[in-house]
Structure formats: C-alpha cells, structure tokens
Amino acid sequence: MTNAHTTGHEILVEVSGYPVAVDRMYHADSHMWVKRLTPGTVRVGLDALGVETSGTLAQLSFVAVGDELARGRAFGQLEAAKFVGPLVSPVSGTVSRTNDAVVTDPGVAEHDPYGEGWLVELTSADETELADLLGTPEAITEWFGRTVEDYRLRGVIAE
C-alpha cells in the first residue's frame, strides 16, 4: 500500500496499482463499495477492480427509485464491450436515488469509481448487513491486494 491521499471526498490509497478508497466498506464478491451518508442512508458503487475486470463499459441501467432491494439482488445491469451482468446489491434497503451521470456516460464510473461514478443510494440500510462488509483499511487493502494478485494469475486483468 502506498500513496495515501485525499481527493474530493475520498481517502484513496494505491494497492497493487489500483486506487482504493478506505473511507467506506466493501462487499468482496461483488466488488461493490458502500459508504454511509447519513444514519440509515448509504451510497453504493463499483470498486476500481470491478470496473477493470468488466471491460470497457457500454451501458449502466438501474431499477426504479422506491424499489425495495434484498441483499444479493440486482439493482441494475452493467453492459461492457463483451460482458453483461447484474449489479448486485451488497445490502438490503430502498433505492432513494440513482446516478443519472453514469447512465448518460458510463465512462464516469470508469474514471471516478469512488466519487462521481457512484451508482445508487439506499435508505433503511440494514445495520447487521453492513457489519458483514469489509470495514477497516487493513482488511480492505489486504483483500484488495490479494484479489489483484489472484486476478493477475488467472489472466483476468491486462498485463
């Protein structure tokens, strides 16, 4: 881990060549980050590795504001040059806002995954589920570094 710095509202560190914001929580399998905004309200986005391994993003779409989400259910769809798949919610809650900017230009999620490239906001987020996420800088950076190495070995990311 090197080069911790603050940019905008994020505290970013570099792990194995990728930026990681350590001021939030992560769901390892889905590569989704979760950031508390106010008590009971969270913002959700895709981390840099989730973006990278998807390939060049072509389209992002979301369920409607007001939809109830259960953890593990899709809150939208990501389409890249050669891949399409669900955006999986890391926690349960009600969709209160979706990010029009990334719908208009999915490149925003590629270039600024922890900032302007956020995806949705949820209210009534389940506190017990939040506790299951990776939540300390040490746990986040250890997991992220290990995952990058694993993806490199498996040939999932560019050389």
Partner: protein, 334 residues
C-alpha cells in the same frame, strides 16, 4: 476487443464461460481505409476521426507489431487461429507481408488473411502462400452485383469492383486449394434469401467456404438506420447454409416466393431436426483451428452482450438450443 482481452492488452471478460483463442488483427493507418462502404464503420466518409472509428461496432486497441508478436508467443498455447484484416491502402500488402513473416517466425498457430482485393494480384496471392498464410478470406459482404455496386462502388469515395473481388476469390482458390478460401457474406444488407442460398451453392461447388456475418448497423454510417435482419430469418439462413455446405443440399431443396423469400426446405423433418439439435449450424463461421475445431469465433461480434447470440462462439446446447428453435420457427418452412 476480444482479441485484446485474450492477449491481455486489455482487461475484460465474456458473459459466458468459453475458451477463446481466435485473434483478429486490423491494419491501422493514419489515412484510414480508402474505401467507403455504406455499412462499414471504417468508411472514408463516415464522420469522425479515423482513430476514433469503430469497426463492427467495437474499439480496436492500437498496439505495436513487436509487442503483439511477443504476446502471441507468450499466449500461444491458447491461440486457435490468427487473422490479419487488410484495409484498402497503398501500404497494406507490404505491411501484411511484414506482419505475417514476423508472426510466422515466432508462432505456429494457423494464420489467415482477410484480404483487400484492390491491393492484390495473383502474384501477391502466391506470395502470401509462400510466406506461410494458411487461408484467405474475401469480404464480398454484398452478395449480388447490384447490392455491391450500390454499397461499395457507386458511393461517395467508393470504386470497389465486383469483378475484382471475384478475380481474387478465384485466384485464391487456385493458389490455396479446396476449402482454404472463404467468402464473407453479410446477411441483412437488402439481399433476398434466394440470393444468399444461390451463392452458398455456387461457393460450395467450388470448394470455397461461405462465412456468414450478420449486418449490425454502425452508428453514423450511411446504413446506421437500416434494421438488422430479423432473428428468425437469420436462423433459417444459418441452417440453410449448413445444409448446403455439410449435407450437400442443392438449390432444388429450397422453394422461394416471387421476391426470393425462403418458403420451404424440402427435407426429411426428423433429419433436419437432428441437424438443428447438433447446434453446429449456429456456431460462428470462421477459419478452423489446427485440429479442425472452430478457430475464429468472434464473440459478440455482431450483437451486444445483452442481445441473443447471433452466432455462438461455442456449440450451443440445452437452453440455447431451445431458444434457437423458438427463434427459427422451423415447422413453418419444413
């Protein structure tokens, strides 16, 4: 883009899990392609800077030849087929020879060239064979002379000649031998089913492969608003081509209406259903790998990942076959 992912120039993944090793290369020049085909993303008069243009609707990352050859050597064990696509440009022949020789010196994977006929003559085709090219492809695309003229000849910066394309097809057939030449046919440019099926028979009789491609409108091209061929028609054309090529069906097996639309295929119903069940007619047409397996499979080459597969980069089975049958409505033409 799929090739860039396979060679790890770019990160990315495919929606479905399948092996992929068909590497497609496209020559790149500052001046671009000098042709102006109505359906093509590289068309000379398509708006935009050439380096920003897509071809078959995807980005083609630009890499140095040295680096490319290194990556091919490094990943050779998973490569099944290599193909260099020429463009119409004064240096295309020279550069294709150079790249071919550099690849052939390091990598044993069979190599094809999708040629640009205006840049070639028989001597040059013979030279391709001499330097190790395994197969030749010709992008005829428009399957009738009228269509070809309207889309590729009589266009703002056109001038491609139907006769020249066929001269290169026949010279290549003579030089490379049976089943070593393929003609690309683009379904959905305005041709009739009969036009396609007549061409498939003609090519089969000359031991030349017809390869099917599905027209997929390029944004900002002159055919940007032209619709894709309906999936039902596309599936039936895939099946008809397979029956002609693999089961030796002739033209008399097919009945058309006055406009050339396919009305009926005259064959034993259970036999045809058996052919459909193999899934093979719906696999991407492309040059084979070393052992005859599909080598060039172009995943998501003519459809978005969120759309149905037009052609499959693997042999479809199970739910994919069920969907194919629904799309094809075979009973209506048997």
């Amino acid at each position: 883009m799929a090739s860039a992912i396979a060679l790890r120039f770019r990160s990315g993944k495919f929606s479905r899990d399948f092996d992929f090793g068909g590497i497609n290369l496209l020559l790149n020049y500052d001046e671009g392609c000098l042709s102006d085909c109505g359906y093509c993303g590289l068309a000379r008069t398509r708006p935009g800077d050439y380096n920003d243009k897509s071809f078959i609707r995807v980005e083609w990352p630009l890499v140095r030849t040295d680096e490319l050859v290194e990556r091919m050597a490094k990943h050779e064990s998973k490569l099944t087929r290599l193909c260099i696509s020429m463009v119409t440009h004064g240096h295309a022949y020279r550069d294709t020879c150079d790249i071919t020789e550099r690849i052939a010196a390091r990598v044993k994977t069979p190599l094809s060239i999708l040629v640009a006929p205006p840049t070639l003559n028989r001597e040059r085709i013979e030279h391709f064979k001499a330097i190790g090219v395994d197969m030749i492809g010709i992008g005829l695309d428009a399957v009738t002379e009228d269509l070809f003229r309207n889309l590729r000849t009589d266009v703002p910066a056109g001038g491609l000649k139907w006769e020249k394309y066929w001269e290169v097809v026949m010279d290549s057939r003579e030089v490379f031998g049976p089943w070593k030449v393929n003609v690309h046919t683009l379904v959905g440019l305005g041709e009739a089913d009969q036009d396609l099926i007549e061409l498939f028979v003609k090519l089969r009789d000359r031991q030349i492969f017809p390869y099917l491609f599905c027209f997929n409108p390029e944004p900002d091209s002159r055919m940007a608003e032209h619709p894709k061929s309906p999936i039902q028609r596309w599936r039936r054309v895939q099946l008809a081509k397979h029956l002609i090529e693999t089961e030796d069906w002739d033209l008399d097996r097919f009945r058309f209406d006055a406009d050339g639309n396919l009305l009926n295929m005259r064959g034993d119903e259970s036999f045809v259903n058996g052919v459909v069940d193999t899934g093979v007619p719906f696999v991407t047409n492309g040059c084979p790998g070393e052992s005859g397996e599909p080598g060039c499979t172009r995943p998501y080459g003519s459809y978005r990942p969120s759309e149905s597969f037009r052609d499959f980069p693997f042999v479809p089975t199970g739910d994919d076959l069920i969907e194919i049958r629904q799309q094809m409505a075979l009973d209506d033409v048997l």
